[in-house]
């Protein structure tokens, strides 16, 4: 990543592309994008990775998490643009401001707490939390798979998140 952001190395970018572009396409198709839409959006995402590389802060996020947020923002923008009749409000999702430097240490300390807490959850609860990062259709499929109503899956998700929050507040200092 540093070769991309500092040396502006196109061969390093090519390696990033070869790793992430297929994964972004899969993720977007899981979110209901067609093959063509997924490829178009993946292009835009990777172009942003190149253009915004200097803004990437390894102290704040993993490369994967950073690429994930770019892909998510592009995806959300596209969906809202499609639903919105007038195209004049382009790109409504403003990225959340980065935490200031004083907070970065706290973020680094807390990073991994969600993961640590996930380890402590029963498998079924951890699974529903992971499914939150997929779409409603995935939740519907999970409901079909387990032969329970979608509402049950949703209430399980809520329960699991409540438990996760308890675990998060039980360990580690809150800021």
């Amino acid at each position: 990543m540093r070769e991309v952001s500092e040396a502006r190395s196109k061969s390093a970018f090519t390696r990033l592309f070869q790793w992430y572009a297929p994964r972004i396409c899969v993720w977007l198709r899981q979110r209901g994008a067609s093959v063509i839409q997924a490829e178009e959006l993946a292009q835009d995402v990777m172009l942003d990775v190149w253009r915004q590389a200097s803004r990437y802060d390894p102290g704040r996020a993993s490369v994967a998490a950073w690429v994930f947020t770019i892909a998510r923002n592009k995806h959300v923008d596209r969906i809202r643009r499609e639903r919105r009749p007038k195209p004049e409000h382009d790109g409504l999702l403003v990225p959340a401001p980065s935490p200031d430097l004083g907070e970065a240490t706290g973020v680094a300390q807390r990073r991994g707490r969600v993961h640590a807490a996930l380890q402590q959850l029963p498998d079924a609860q951890a699974a529903v939390i992971r499914s939150t990062f997929l779409d409603e259709e995935t939740q519907q499929r999970a409901a079909d798979l387990h032969g329970v109503p979608l509402g049950t899956i949703k209430s399980r998700t809520r329960l699991a998140f409540g438990r996760l929050r308890e675990l998060l507040s039980a360990d580690g200092p809150d800021d």
Partner: protein
């Protein structure tokens, strides 16, 4: 600012994952601007998103020409990004989160919702009923009512006391109140008044005669 009332984690996760409706997403994003603790949780959830992205298995690789197409575009000049829209002068002194500014750029004035309550509706797609800025005069009482769907309110200025079966709670700037359909509550605005942004799905359900009249008058 260190708010004491936060979005439920499922809401924060749905926002981070990118499938929350625009109105609720705006409320969560506004809270995030004001809450360092939730920004940390957001970062942890984004890390989880990143790991799920890493683990996305490819069954049909993208076409080979995709890389060439992107490589050709790397040296294109970056299109200038539009300057963030400015708030209209009559709102400029209010502590309004940055994510909301572009929704308010064309607004001219407050409209009267009920005596003591002014409103600016936000042009949000997918707002099932209402997504607005609300400004309450000091001491306004919202009689006991329930909700037909989830209601989120974020305090931007001033505050209110919230009475419900769960107990008495105080909401101050940065605090996000999340009322689920089964929750009833009564709200009393603090003496300095209160500015909130809120998003609600479903209708309000009156729990007293006074609330019925208010809901009828305000067409809440």
């Amino acid at each position: 600012m260190h708010p004491s009332h936060h979005p439920p984690l499922d809401l924060l996760a749905a926002h981070t994952a990118g499938w929350l409706a625009e109105d609720q997403s705006l409320l969560v994003a506004s809270h995030l601007e004001l809450c360092p603790a939730c920004r940390s949780e957001e970062a942890a959830l984004e890390k989880l998103g990143g790991e799920l992205l890493e683990g996305a298995v490819d069954d049909a690789p993208p076409s080979a020409s995709l890389l060439d197409a992107v490589l050709r575009r790397l040296d294109e000049p970056v299109p200038p990004s539009a300057p963030p829209p400015a708030l209209p002068a009559f709102l400029a002194d209010l502590p309004i989160p940055t994510v909301l500014h572009r929704y308010l750029a064309d607004v001219r004035r407050w409209s009267l919702l009920l005596p003591g309550i002014q409103e600016i509706a936000l042009p949000v797609e997918g707002a099932r009923l209402r997504c607005s800025l609300l400004r309450f005069k000091p001491g306004v009482l919202l009689p006991r009512h329930g909700h037909g769907g989830r209601e989120l309110s974020l305090v931007l200025q001033g505050g209110f006391d919230d009475q419900s079966d769960a107990g008495d709670r105080v909401f101050l700037p940065g605090d996000l109140s999340c009322q689920d359909p089964e929750d009833d509550h009564e709200v009393r605005i603090h003496e300095e008044g209160c500015l909130v942004v809120f998003a609600r799905e479903g209708r309000l359900l009156p729990r007293s005669l006074l609330a019925s009249v208010g809901i009828f008058l305000g067409q809440l």
